[in-house]
Amino acid sequence: MSKVLIVAEHLDGKLNASTARCVTCAKEIKADTIDVLVLASAPDAIAGEAARIDGVSKVLTVSRAENEHALAAIFAPQVAAAAKNGYTHVFAPSTTFGKDLAPRIAALLGVAQVSDVMAVEGAHTFKRPIYAGNAIVTVEAPQDQLLVATVRTASYAAAGAGANAAPIEALALDVALPNHTRFVELAQGKSDRPDLQAAGRVVSGGRALGSADNFKIIYALADKLGAAVGASRAAVDAGYVPSDLQVGQTGKIISPELYIAIGISGAIQHLTGIKDAGTIVAINKDAEAPIFEIADYGLVGDLFKLVPEFEQAL
Protein backbone atom coordinates (compact mmCIF):
# COMPACT_ATOMS: atom_id res chain seq x y z
CA MET A 1 0.00 0.00 0.00
CA SER A 2 2.18 2.80 -1.25
CA LYS A 3 1.39 6.46 -1.05
CA VAL A 4 3.84 8.66 -2.87
CA LEU A 5 4.41 12.36 -2.23
CA ILE A 6 6.27 14.19 -4.98
CA VAL A 7 7.83 17.54 -4.23
CA ALA A 8 7.15 19.82 -7.17
CA GLU A 9 9.98 21.76 -8.70
CA HIS A 10 9.00 25.14 -10.06
CA LEU A 11 10.39 28.53 -10.90
CA ASP A 12 8.72 31.84 -11.73
CA GLY A 13 5.25 30.36 -11.43
CA LYS A 14 5.91 27.51 -13.83
CA LEU A 15 6.06 23.83 -13.00
CA ASN A 16 9.26 22.10 -14.03
CA ALA A 17 8.97 19.08 -16.34
CA SER A 18 10.95 17.07 -13.83
CA THR A 19 7.76 16.73 -11.78
CA ALA A 20 5.99 14.81 -14.52
CA ARG A 21 8.98 12.49 -14.80
CA CYS A 22 8.79 11.78 -11.09
CA VAL A 23 5.15 10.86 -11.61
CA THR A 24 6.16 8.28 -14.22
CA CYS A 25 8.61 6.75 -11.77
CA ALA A 26 6.00 6.77 -9.03
CA LYS A 27 3.59 4.91 -11.30
CA GLU A 28 6.09 2.06 -11.57
CA ILE A 29 5.84 1.50 -7.85
CA LYS A 30 2.17 0.81 -8.44
CA ALA A 31 1.30 3.24 -5.70
CA ASP A 32 -2.26 3.62 -4.50
CA THR A 33 -1.98 7.36 -4.65
CA ILE A 34 0.48 9.81 -6.12
CA ASP A 35 0.22 13.28 -4.62
CA VAL A 36 2.18 16.35 -5.62
CA LEU A 37 3.24 18.90 -3.02
CA VAL A 38 3.67 22.50 -4.11
CA LEU A 39 5.52 24.79 -1.72
CA ALA A 40 5.34 28.35 -2.92
CA SER A 41 4.25 31.83 -1.97
CA ALA A 42 1.75 31.78 -4.84
CA PRO A 43 1.09 28.12 -5.66
CA ASP A 44 -2.14 28.24 -7.66
CA ALA A 45 -0.83 28.30 -11.23
CA ILE A 46 1.79 25.70 -10.42
CA ALA A 47 -0.73 23.49 -8.69
CA GLY A 48 -3.04 23.83 -11.67
CA GLU A 49 -0.33 22.49 -13.97
CA ALA A 50 0.45 19.64 -11.61
CA ALA A 51 -3.20 18.66 -11.35
CA ARG A 52 -3.32 18.03 -15.09
CA ILE A 53 -0.51 15.45 -15.06
CA ASP A 54 -1.77 11.98 -15.79
CA GLY A 55 -1.53 9.78 -12.71
CA VAL A 56 -1.64 12.50 -10.06
CA SER A 57 -4.27 11.79 -7.40
CA LYS A 58 -4.17 15.07 -5.56
CA VAL A 59 -2.17 18.28 -5.39
CA LEU A 60 -1.37 19.77 -2.01
CA THR A 61 -0.30 23.37 -1.68
CA VAL A 62 1.51 25.08 1.14
CA SER A 63 1.34 28.77 0.59
CA ARG A 64 3.46 31.03 2.74
CA ALA A 65 5.73 33.98 2.17
CA GLU A 66 8.81 32.03 3.27
CA ASN A 67 8.23 29.66 0.36
CA GLU A 68 8.83 32.32 -2.23
CA HIS A 69 12.24 30.84 -3.04
CA ALA A 70 13.24 27.21 -2.94
CA LEU A 71 15.56 27.05 0.04
CA ALA A 72 16.25 23.54 1.26
CA ALA A 73 16.38 24.61 4.89
CA ILE A 74 12.92 26.17 4.57
CA PHE A 75 11.28 23.50 2.44
CA ALA A 76 12.65 20.42 4.18
CA PRO A 77 10.82 20.72 7.51
CA GLN A 78 7.56 21.31 5.65
CA VAL A 79 7.98 18.30 3.40
CA ALA A 80 8.97 16.16 6.37
CA ALA A 81 5.83 17.24 8.21
CA ALA A 82 3.63 16.62 5.17
CA ALA A 83 5.20 13.21 4.62
CA LYS A 84 4.15 12.05 8.04
CA ASN A 85 0.52 12.11 6.92
CA GLY A 86 0.59 8.47 5.94
CA TYR A 87 2.98 8.65 2.98
CA THR A 88 5.34 5.78 2.29
CA HIS A 89 7.52 7.47 -0.31
CA VAL A 90 8.79 11.00 -0.85
CA PHE A 91 10.16 11.71 -4.32
CA ALA A 92 12.07 14.65 -5.65
CA PRO A 93 13.71 14.99 -9.05
CA SER A 94 17.45 14.48 -9.19
CA THR A 95 18.00 18.03 -10.33
CA THR A 96 19.86 20.79 -8.54
CA PHE A 97 16.64 21.58 -6.70
CA GLY A 98 15.90 18.02 -5.67
CA LYS A 99 19.48 17.11 -4.81
CA ASP A 100 19.73 20.12 -2.56
CA LEU A 101 16.47 19.37 -0.78
CA ALA A 102 15.86 15.63 -0.57
CA PRO A 103 18.70 14.54 1.75
CA ARG A 104 17.73 17.27 4.17
CA ILE A 105 14.22 15.82 4.24
CA ALA A 106 15.59 12.31 4.73
CA ALA A 107 17.78 13.33 7.64
CA LEU A 108 14.90 15.15 9.34
CA LEU A 109 12.86 11.97 9.00
CA GLY A 110 15.80 9.86 10.13
CA VAL A 111 15.77 7.69 7.03
CA ALA A 112 18.18 6.76 4.29
CA GLN A 113 17.79 8.17 0.80
CA VAL A 114 18.02 6.42 -2.53
CA SER A 115 19.64 8.83 -4.96
CA ASP A 116 19.12 8.78 -8.72
CA VAL A 117 16.55 6.04 -9.05
CA MET A 118 16.83 4.75 -12.60
CA ALA A 119 14.61 1.68 -12.39
CA VAL A 120 11.96 0.39 -10.06
CA GLU A 121 12.13 -3.29 -9.14
CA GLY A 122 9.56 -3.13 -6.38
CA ALA A 123 8.01 -0.67 -3.97
CA HIS A 124 11.21 -0.68 -1.94
CA THR A 125 13.73 -1.97 -4.42
CA PHE A 126 15.45 0.22 -6.95
CA LYS A 127 18.35 0.32 -9.33
CA ARG A 128 20.69 3.26 -9.27
CA PRO A 129 23.98 4.15 -10.96
CA ILE A 130 27.27 4.29 -9.06
CA TYR A 131 30.88 4.85 -10.09
CA ALA A 132 29.92 7.45 -12.66
CA GLY A 133 27.34 5.08 -14.08
CA ASN A 134 29.86 2.30 -14.68
CA ALA A 135 27.98 0.02 -12.36
CA ILE A 136 24.37 -0.34 -11.38
CA VAL A 137 23.47 -1.35 -7.87
CA THR A 138 20.14 -2.77 -6.80
CA VAL A 139 19.22 -1.44 -3.39
CA GLU A 140 16.46 -2.38 -1.04
CA ALA A 141 15.14 0.07 1.49
CA PRO A 142 13.66 -0.98 4.82
CA GLN A 143 9.92 -1.48 4.46
CA ASP A 144 9.09 -0.22 7.91
CA GLN A 145 10.15 3.34 7.33
CA LEU A 146 9.50 6.19 4.95
CA LEU A 147 11.55 6.20 1.80
CA VAL A 148 13.07 9.33 0.36
CA ALA A 149 14.36 9.10 -3.18
CA THR A 150 15.52 11.31 -5.98
CA VAL A 151 14.45 10.30 -9.45
CA ARG A 152 16.97 10.21 -12.26
CA THR A 153 14.86 12.28 -14.62
CA ALA A 154 16.79 11.15 -17.69
CA SER A 155 15.48 7.62 -17.10
CA TYR A 156 11.81 8.52 -17.21
CA ALA A 157 9.60 10.13 -19.79
CA ALA A 158 7.33 12.86 -18.54
CA ALA A 159 3.81 11.66 -17.78
CA GLY A 160 1.32 13.16 -20.20
CA ALA A 161 -0.68 16.19 -19.20
CA GLY A 162 -4.13 17.36 -20.14
CA ALA A 163 -6.86 14.91 -19.35
CA ASN A 164 -6.44 14.75 -15.59
CA ALA A 165 -8.01 17.19 -13.16
CA ALA A 166 -6.78 16.20 -9.74
CA PRO A 167 -8.24 18.02 -6.76
CA ILE A 168 -6.12 20.78 -5.31
CA GLU A 169 -6.06 21.21 -1.54
CA ALA A 170 -4.39 23.72 0.67
CA LEU A 171 -2.37 21.96 3.32
CA ALA A 172 -2.03 23.47 6.74
CA LEU A 173 1.24 22.61 8.37
CA ASP A 174 2.26 23.52 11.86
CA VAL A 175 5.98 23.65 11.37
CA ALA A 176 8.62 25.91 12.83
CA LEU A 177 10.88 27.20 10.11
CA PRO A 178 14.53 27.99 10.73
CA ASN A 179 15.70 31.54 10.30
CA HIS A 180 19.34 30.76 9.72
CA THR A 181 19.12 30.93 5.95
CA ARG A 182 17.73 33.62 3.76
CA PHE A 183 17.55 34.11 0.06
CA VAL A 184 19.75 36.89 -1.25
CA GLU A 185 19.89 36.63 -4.99
CA LEU A 186 19.42 34.27 -7.87
CA ALA A 187 21.98 35.01 -10.52
CA GLN A 188 20.76 32.90 -13.37
CA GLY A 189 21.82 33.20 -16.95
CA LYS A 190 18.85 34.76 -18.67
CA SER A 191 18.45 33.05 -21.94
CA ASP A 192 15.86 32.37 -24.56
CA ARG A 193 17.50 29.07 -25.16
CA PRO A 194 15.79 25.96 -23.86
CA ASP A 195 16.63 24.79 -20.36
CA LEU A 196 19.50 22.32 -20.47
CA GLN A 197 17.94 19.82 -18.09
CA ALA A 198 14.79 19.45 -20.18
CA ALA A 199 15.84 20.32 -23.74
CA GLY A 200 15.19 17.99 -26.61
CA ARG A 201 18.36 19.09 -28.36
CA VAL A 202 21.67 19.98 -26.79
CA VAL A 203 24.94 21.20 -28.26
CA SER A 204 27.89 20.85 -25.91
CA GLY A 205 31.43 22.12 -26.00
CA GLY A 206 34.55 20.80 -24.35
CA ARG A 207 37.97 22.02 -23.42
CA ALA A 208 39.10 21.99 -27.05
CA LEU A 209 37.15 25.18 -27.58
CA GLY A 210 40.02 26.87 -25.81
CA SER A 211 38.32 29.97 -24.50
CA ALA A 212 35.05 31.48 -23.38
CA ASP A 213 35.06 33.59 -26.50
CA ASN A 214 35.35 30.56 -28.76
CA PHE A 215 32.21 29.16 -27.26
CA LYS A 216 30.39 31.60 -29.52
CA ILE A 217 30.40 28.99 -32.26
CA ILE A 218 28.65 26.56 -29.93
CA TYR A 219 26.01 29.11 -29.05
CA ALA A 220 25.53 29.94 -32.71
CA LEU A 221 25.01 26.31 -33.67
CA ALA A 222 22.67 25.79 -30.73
CA ASP A 223 20.58 28.76 -31.75
CA LYS A 224 20.34 27.48 -35.30
CA LEU A 225 19.08 24.16 -33.97
CA GLY A 226 16.87 25.59 -31.24
CA ALA A 227 19.03 23.68 -28.80
CA ALA A 228 20.25 24.20 -25.27
CA VAL A 229 23.97 24.58 -24.61
CA GLY A 230 25.98 22.25 -22.40
CA ALA A 231 29.61 21.71 -21.57
CA SER A 232 32.01 19.18 -20.19
CA ARG A 233 33.45 19.62 -16.73
CA ALA A 234 36.81 20.52 -18.26
CA ALA A 235 35.30 23.48 -20.07
CA VAL A 236 33.49 24.60 -16.93
CA ASP A 237 36.58 24.29 -14.75
CA ALA A 238 38.57 26.23 -17.31
CA GLY A 239 36.07 29.03 -16.96
CA TYR A 240 34.74 28.99 -20.52
CA VAL A 241 31.14 28.67 -19.43
CA PRO A 242 29.18 28.94 -16.19
CA SER A 243 28.85 25.83 -14.08
CA ASP A 244 25.15 25.34 -14.67
CA LEU A 245 26.04 24.20 -18.18
CA GLN A 246 28.00 21.22 -16.90
CA VAL A 247 26.83 17.84 -18.13
CA GLY A 248 28.04 14.63 -16.56
CA GLN A 249 28.43 12.59 -13.40
CA THR A 250 28.72 15.64 -11.21
CA GLY A 251 26.74 17.98 -13.41
CA LYS A 252 23.43 17.48 -15.11
CA ILE A 253 22.22 14.11 -16.26
CA ILE A 254 20.22 14.68 -19.41
CA SER A 255 18.38 12.71 -22.05
CA PRO A 256 17.83 14.90 -25.08
CA GLU A 257 16.77 13.41 -28.39
CA LEU A 258 19.82 14.91 -30.00
CA TYR A 259 23.17 15.52 -28.32
CA ILE A 260 26.05 17.06 -30.23
CA ALA A 261 29.40 16.86 -28.45
CA ILE A 262 31.98 19.23 -29.86
CA GLY A 263 35.59 19.05 -28.78
CA ILE A 264 34.67 16.67 -25.98
CA SER A 265 36.88 13.66 -25.53
CA GLY A 266 34.26 11.48 -23.90
CA ALA A 267 35.56 10.69 -20.43
CA ILE A 268 33.33 8.22 -18.65
CA GLN A 269 32.19 10.88 -16.21
CA HIS A 270 30.77 12.91 -19.08
CA LEU A 271 29.21 9.93 -20.83
CA THR A 272 27.19 9.02 -17.78
CA GLY A 273 25.42 12.34 -18.18
CA ILE A 274 24.38 11.67 -21.76
CA LYS A 275 24.04 7.93 -22.14
CA ASP A 276 20.27 8.16 -22.35
CA ALA A 277 20.34 10.61 -25.21
CA GLY A 278 18.58 9.51 -28.36
CA THR A 279 21.20 10.30 -30.95
CA ILE A 280 24.74 11.32 -30.13
CA VAL A 281 26.88 13.20 -32.62
CA ALA A 282 30.55 13.87 -31.94
CA ILE A 283 32.98 16.28 -33.57
CA ASN A 284 36.58 15.89 -32.48
CA LYS A 285 39.95 16.09 -34.18
CA ASP A 286 41.21 13.01 -32.35
CA ALA A 287 39.96 9.89 -34.08
CA GLU A 288 40.82 7.84 -31.00
CA ALA A 289 38.72 9.95 -28.66
CA PRO A 290 36.48 7.74 -26.51
CA ILE A 291 33.43 9.79 -27.48
CA PHE A 292 33.43 8.07 -30.86
CA GLU A 293 32.79 4.71 -29.23
CA ILE A 294 29.47 5.93 -27.99
CA ALA A 295 28.51 8.36 -30.74
CA ASP A 296 25.98 7.37 -33.33
CA TYR A 297 27.57 9.77 -35.79
CA GLY A 298 31.12 11.00 -35.64
CA LEU A 299 33.06 13.62 -37.51
CA VAL A 300 36.82 13.70 -37.17
CA GLY A 301 38.33 17.05 -37.90
CA ASP A 302 39.01 20.55 -36.70
CA LEU A 303 35.93 21.82 -34.92
CA PHE A 304 36.78 25.42 -35.73
CA LYS A 305 36.36 24.60 -39.41
CA LEU A 306 33.64 22.03 -39.14
CA VAL A 307 31.22 23.71 -36.78
CA PRO A 308 30.76 26.90 -38.79
CA GLU A 309 30.42 24.77 -41.96
CA PHE A 310 27.86 22.61 -40.22
CA GLU A 311 25.93 25.62 -39.07
CA GLN A 312 25.94 27.10 -42.54
CA ALA A 313 24.67 23.87 -44.02
CA LEU A 314 21.67 23.75 -41.72
Binding site: A107, Q113, I136, P142, H180, R182, F183, D237, I268, I294
Partner: protein, 267 residues
Protein backbone atom coordinates in the same frame (compact mmCIF):
# COMPACT_ATOMS: atom_id res chain seq x y z
CA UNK B 1 37.64 29.08 14.05
CA UNK B 2 38.08 25.45 13.14
CA UNK B 3 37.08 23.98 9.83
CA UNK B 4 36.15 20.35 9.66
CA UNK B 5 36.72 18.74 6.27
CA UNK B 6 35.19 15.40 5.37
CA UNK B 7 37.88 13.46 3.55
CA UNK B 8 36.66 10.23 2.01
CA UNK B 9 38.82 7.56 0.49
CA UNK B 10 37.35 6.20 -2.73
CA UNK B 11 38.34 4.18 -5.75
CA UNK B 12 40.47 6.49 -7.89
CA UNK B 13 38.46 8.23 -10.57
CA UNK B 14 40.69 6.83 -13.30
CA UNK B 15 39.97 3.23 -12.41
CA UNK B 16 37.56 1.37 -14.58
CA UNK B 17 35.58 -0.50 -11.96
CA UNK B 18 34.73 -4.13 -12.34
CA UNK B 19 31.86 -5.95 -10.75
CA UNK B 20 32.60 -9.25 -9.03
CA UNK B 21 31.47 -12.25 -11.08
CA UNK B 22 28.78 -13.17 -8.57
CA UNK B 23 27.41 -9.64 -8.64
CA UNK B 24 28.03 -9.19 -4.95
CA UNK B 25 29.96 -5.99 -5.21
CA UNK B 26 32.48 -3.87 -7.00
CA UNK B 27 36.09 -5.06 -7.01
CA UNK B 28 38.06 -2.81 -4.68
CA UNK B 29 40.99 -5.08 -3.81
CA UNK B 30 44.19 -4.25 -5.56
CA UNK B 31 42.62 -1.18 -7.02
CA UNK B 32 44.03 2.30 -6.61
CA UNK B 33 42.32 4.28 -3.86
CA UNK B 34 42.50 8.05 -3.60
CA UNK B 35 40.92 10.95 -1.85
CA UNK B 36 37.53 11.83 -3.31
CA UNK B 37 38.35 14.63 -5.77
CA UNK B 38 35.70 16.96 -4.40
CA UNK B 39 36.92 16.38 -0.86
CA UNK B 40 40.35 17.45 -2.07
CA UNK B 41 38.81 20.64 -3.32
CA UNK B 42 37.03 21.14 -0.02
CA UNK B 43 40.33 20.68 1.77
CA UNK B 44 42.06 23.17 -0.49
CA UNK B 45 39.35 25.69 0.20
CA UNK B 46 39.67 25.11 3.93
CA UNK B 47 43.40 25.65 3.74
CA UNK B 48 42.85 28.80 1.76
CA UNK B 49 40.51 30.11 4.42
CA UNK B 50 43.13 29.34 7.02
CA UNK B 51 45.75 31.26 5.07
CA UNK B 52 43.43 34.22 4.90
CA UNK B 53 43.15 34.14 8.63
CA UNK B 54 39.48 33.23 8.62
CA UNK B 55 40.20 29.89 10.25
CA UNK B 56 42.88 28.74 12.61
CA UNK B 57 42.62 24.98 12.30
CA UNK B 58 41.78 22.61 9.53
CA UNK B 59 40.80 19.13 10.62
CA UNK B 60 40.25 16.30 8.15
CA UNK B 61 37.94 13.46 9.07
CA UNK B 62 37.88 10.03 7.49
CA UNK B 63 35.49 7.23 8.33
CA UNK B 64 36.92 3.98 7.11
CA UNK B 65 39.02 0.90 7.76
CA UNK B 66 42.32 0.92 9.60
CA UNK B 67 44.32 0.67 6.39
CA UNK B 68 43.13 4.15 5.41
CA UNK B 69 46.08 5.57 7.34
CA UNK B 70 48.11 6.61 4.28
CA UNK B 71 45.05 8.42 2.99
CA UNK B 72 44.69 10.31 6.25
CA UNK B 73 48.36 11.16 6.33
CA UNK B 74 47.94 12.57 2.87
CA UNK B 75 45.36 14.95 4.27
CA UNK B 76 47.93 16.08 6.82
CA UNK B 77 50.57 16.39 4.15
CA UNK B 78 48.23 18.63 2.18
CA UNK B 79 48.27 20.94 5.15
CA UNK B 80 45.59 19.96 7.61
CA UNK B 81 46.47 20.65 11.24
CA UNK B 82 44.89 17.49 12.53
CA UNK B 83 43.19 14.39 11.33
CA UNK B 84 40.53 12.23 12.89
CA UNK B 85 40.11 8.68 11.76
CA UNK B 86 36.91 6.97 12.73
CA UNK B 87 37.69 3.33 12.17
CA UNK B 88 35.18 0.92 10.75
CA UNK B 89 35.17 -1.96 8.31
CA UNK B 90 31.49 -1.53 7.53
CA UNK B 91 30.32 0.23 4.43
CA UNK B 92 29.28 3.66 5.58
CA UNK B 93 26.13 5.12 4.11
CA UNK B 94 25.53 8.87 3.99
CA UNK B 95 23.15 9.10 6.95
CA UNK B 96 25.62 7.26 9.13
CA UNK B 97 28.46 9.46 7.93
CA UNK B 98 26.36 12.52 8.69
CA UNK B 99 25.63 11.23 12.18
CA UNK B 100 29.30 10.55 12.81
CA UNK B 101 30.24 14.02 11.65
CA UNK B 102 27.50 15.48 13.82
CA UNK B 103 29.03 13.82 16.85
CA UNK B 104 32.47 15.06 15.94
CA UNK B 105 31.05 18.55 15.59
CA UNK B 106 29.87 18.37 19.17
CA UNK B 107 33.39 17.64 20.23
CA UNK B 108 35.34 19.87 17.88
CA UNK B 109 32.93 22.80 17.60
CA UNK B 110 34.00 23.86 14.13
CA UNK B 111 32.72 27.06 12.61
CA UNK B 112 32.29 25.52 9.18
CA UNK B 113 32.17 22.03 7.78
CA UNK B 114 33.28 21.53 4.20
CA UNK B 115 32.51 18.42 2.21
CA UNK B 116 32.89 17.39 -1.37
CA UNK B 117 29.60 17.65 -3.18
CA UNK B 118 29.43 13.95 -3.92
CA UNK B 119 31.58 10.90 -3.52
CA UNK B 120 32.57 9.50 -6.86
CA UNK B 121 32.04 5.93 -5.72
CA UNK B 122 28.45 5.88 -4.54
CA UNK B 123 27.47 9.19 -6.22
CA UNK B 124 24.91 9.74 -3.47
CA UNK B 125 25.31 13.49 -2.95
CA UNK B 126 23.60 13.38 0.45
CA UNK B 127 26.00 13.60 3.38
CA UNK B 128 26.46 17.37 3.46
CA UNK B 129 22.76 18.10 3.27
CA UNK B 130 21.96 15.47 5.88
CA UNK B 131 24.57 16.86 8.22
CA UNK B 132 23.13 20.34 7.77
CA UNK B 133 19.71 19.02 8.78
CA UNK B 134 21.05 17.17 11.82
CA UNK B 135 23.07 20.17 12.89
CA UNK B 136 20.24 22.59 12.04
CA UNK B 137 22.52 24.80 10.02
CA UNK B 138 22.36 26.37 6.59
CA UNK B 139 23.63 24.42 3.65
CA UNK B 140 25.27 25.74 0.52
CA UNK B 141 25.40 22.94 -1.99
CA UNK B 142 27.35 22.75 -5.25
CA UNK B 143 29.24 25.85 -4.23
CA UNK B 144 31.91 27.02 -6.54
CA UNK B 145 34.19 29.99 -6.60
CA UNK B 146 35.71 31.58 -3.60
CA UNK B 147 34.21 31.37 -0.18
CA UNK B 148 33.79 34.81 1.20
CA UNK B 149 33.60 35.30 4.92
CA UNK B 150 31.94 38.39 6.25
CA UNK B 151 33.28 39.08 9.72
CA UNK B 152 33.82 35.62 11.02
CA UNK B 153 30.17 34.96 11.40
CA UNK B 154 28.66 34.57 8.04
CA UNK B 155 29.60 33.14 4.73
CA UNK B 156 28.16 33.20 1.33
CA UNK B 157 28.89 30.91 -1.48
CA UNK B 158 28.75 32.03 -5.07
CA UNK B 159 27.17 29.87 -7.67
CA UNK B 160 23.69 29.45 -8.94
CA UNK B 161 22.25 30.75 -5.72
CA UNK B 162 23.75 33.29 -3.45
CA UNK B 163 22.58 32.55 0.01
CA UNK B 164 23.87 34.41 2.94
CA UNK B 165 24.01 32.44 6.11
CA UNK B 166 23.85 34.75 9.05
CA UNK B 167 24.66 32.07 11.54
CA UNK B 168 28.08 31.20 12.66
CA UNK B 169 28.44 27.91 10.99
CA UNK B 170 27.66 27.12 7.44
CA UNK B 171 27.72 23.86 5.72
CA UNK B 172 29.26 24.10 2.39
CA UNK B 173 30.04 21.78 -0.44
CA UNK B 174 32.85 22.30 -2.81
CA UNK B 175 32.06 21.74 -6.44
CA UNK B 176 34.35 21.15 -9.31
CA UNK B 177 36.47 24.21 -9.52
CA UNK B 178 39.52 25.20 -7.64
CA UNK B 179 42.18 27.58 -8.75
CA UNK B 180 45.56 26.10 -9.00
CA UNK B 181 48.07 27.87 -6.87
CA UNK B 182 51.67 26.89 -6.48
CA UNK B 183 52.58 24.42 -3.81
CA UNK B 184 54.74 27.11 -2.26
CA UNK B 185 51.65 29.06 -1.34
CA UNK B 186 50.55 26.51 1.18
CA UNK B 187 52.01 25.62 4.48
CA UNK B 188 52.51 21.95 4.39
CA UNK B 189 52.34 20.70 7.90
CA UNK B 190 53.45 17.16 7.62
CA UNK B 191 53.29 14.95 10.63
CA UNK B 192 50.55 16.87 12.43
CA UNK B 193 49.11 15.02 15.31
CA UNK B 194 46.18 12.80 14.75
CA UNK B 195 43.99 10.65 16.84
CA UNK B 196 42.73 7.36 15.70
CA UNK B 197 39.71 6.39 17.64
CA UNK B 198 37.18 3.76 17.13
CA UNK B 199 33.86 4.81 18.45
CA UNK B 200 30.61 3.07 18.88
CA UNK B 201 27.68 4.61 17.16
CA UNK B 202 24.25 3.45 18.03
CA UNK B 203 21.97 5.97 16.41
CA UNK B 204 24.89 8.36 16.43
CA UNK B 205 25.89 8.21 20.09
CA UNK B 206 29.54 8.51 20.76
CA UNK B 207 31.03 6.66 23.68
CA UNK B 208 31.93 9.56 25.89
CA UNK B 209 33.43 7.18 28.41
CA UNK B 210 36.02 5.98 25.96
CA UNK B 211 37.25 9.47 25.24
CA UNK B 212 37.58 10.48 28.87
CA UNK B 213 39.46 7.34 29.75
CA UNK B 214 41.98 7.81 27.04
CA UNK B 215 42.45 11.48 27.72
CA UNK B 216 42.07 12.47 24.16
CA UNK B 217 41.26 16.14 24.20
CA UNK B 218 41.68 16.56 20.50
CA UNK B 219 44.40 19.15 20.79
CA UNK B 220 47.08 16.58 20.62
CA UNK B 221 46.75 13.20 22.09
CA UNK B 222 47.52 13.53 25.75
CA UNK B 223 46.72 9.96 26.62
CA UNK B 224 49.25 7.26 27.21
CA UNK B 225 50.89 5.76 24.19
CA UNK B 226 50.41 8.84 22.08
CA UNK B 227 53.57 10.31 20.67
CA UNK B 228 54.13 13.58 18.86
CA UNK B 229 53.40 11.87 15.59
CA UNK B 230 50.02 11.01 17.01
CA UNK B 231 49.99 7.28 17.10
CA UNK B 232 46.46 6.21 17.51
CA UNK B 233 44.44 5.71 20.61
CA UNK B 234 42.22 2.81 19.98
CA UNK B 235 39.09 2.83 22.01
CA UNK B 236 37.97 -0.49 20.72
CA UNK B 237 34.43 -0.01 19.57
CA UNK B 238 32.98 -0.50 16.17
CA UNK B 239 30.71 1.55 14.03
CA UNK B 240 27.39 -0.18 13.59
CA UNK B 241 25.19 1.58 11.07
CA UNK B 242 21.55 0.64 11.31
CA UNK B 243 18.47 0.97 9.20
CA UNK B 244 20.18 1.84 5.99
CA UNK B 245 19.80 0.55 2.50
CA UNK B 246 20.66 -3.04 1.66
CA UNK B 247 22.67 -3.43 -1.48
CA UNK B 248 21.38 -6.47 -3.24
CA UNK B 249 23.25 -6.78 -6.43
CA UNK B 250 25.68 -5.10 -8.76
CA UNK B 251 25.92 -5.14 -12.50
CA UNK B 252 28.05 -3.41 -15.05
CA UNK B 253 26.25 -0.75 -16.95
CA UNK B 254 26.25 -0.61 -20.70
CA UNK B 255 24.75 1.70 -23.20
CA UNK B 256 21.42 0.79 -24.66
CA UNK B 257 21.20 -1.83 -27.34
CA UNK B 258 20.93 0.61 -30.19
CA UNK B 259 24.57 1.60 -29.99
CA UNK B 260 28.00 0.20 -29.37
CA UNK B 261 28.31 -1.88 -26.21
CA UNK B 262 30.33 -1.08 -23.17
CA UNK B 263 31.67 2.38 -23.58
CA UNK B 264 35.24 3.45 -24.19
CA UNK B 265 38.24 1.52 -22.98
CA UNK B 266 39.85 3.49 -20.26
CA UNK B 267 43.44 4.70 -20.52
Amino acid sequence: MKILVAYKRVVDYNVRVQVKPDGSGVVTEGVKLSANPFDDIALEEALRLREKGVATDVIVVTIGPADAQPHIRNGLAMGANRAIHVVTTDAVQPLTAARVLRKLIEKEQPGIVLLGKQAIDDDCNQTGQMLAALWDRPQATFARGRCRARDDRSRSAGGDHDRSAPQRATLHQAAGHHEGEGEADRDVAAGGSWCRVRRSFEDGAVCGAGEAEQGCDGEGCAGPGCGAEGEGIVVGHTLTPRGGLTNMGWALAHRSATTVGQGPPYP
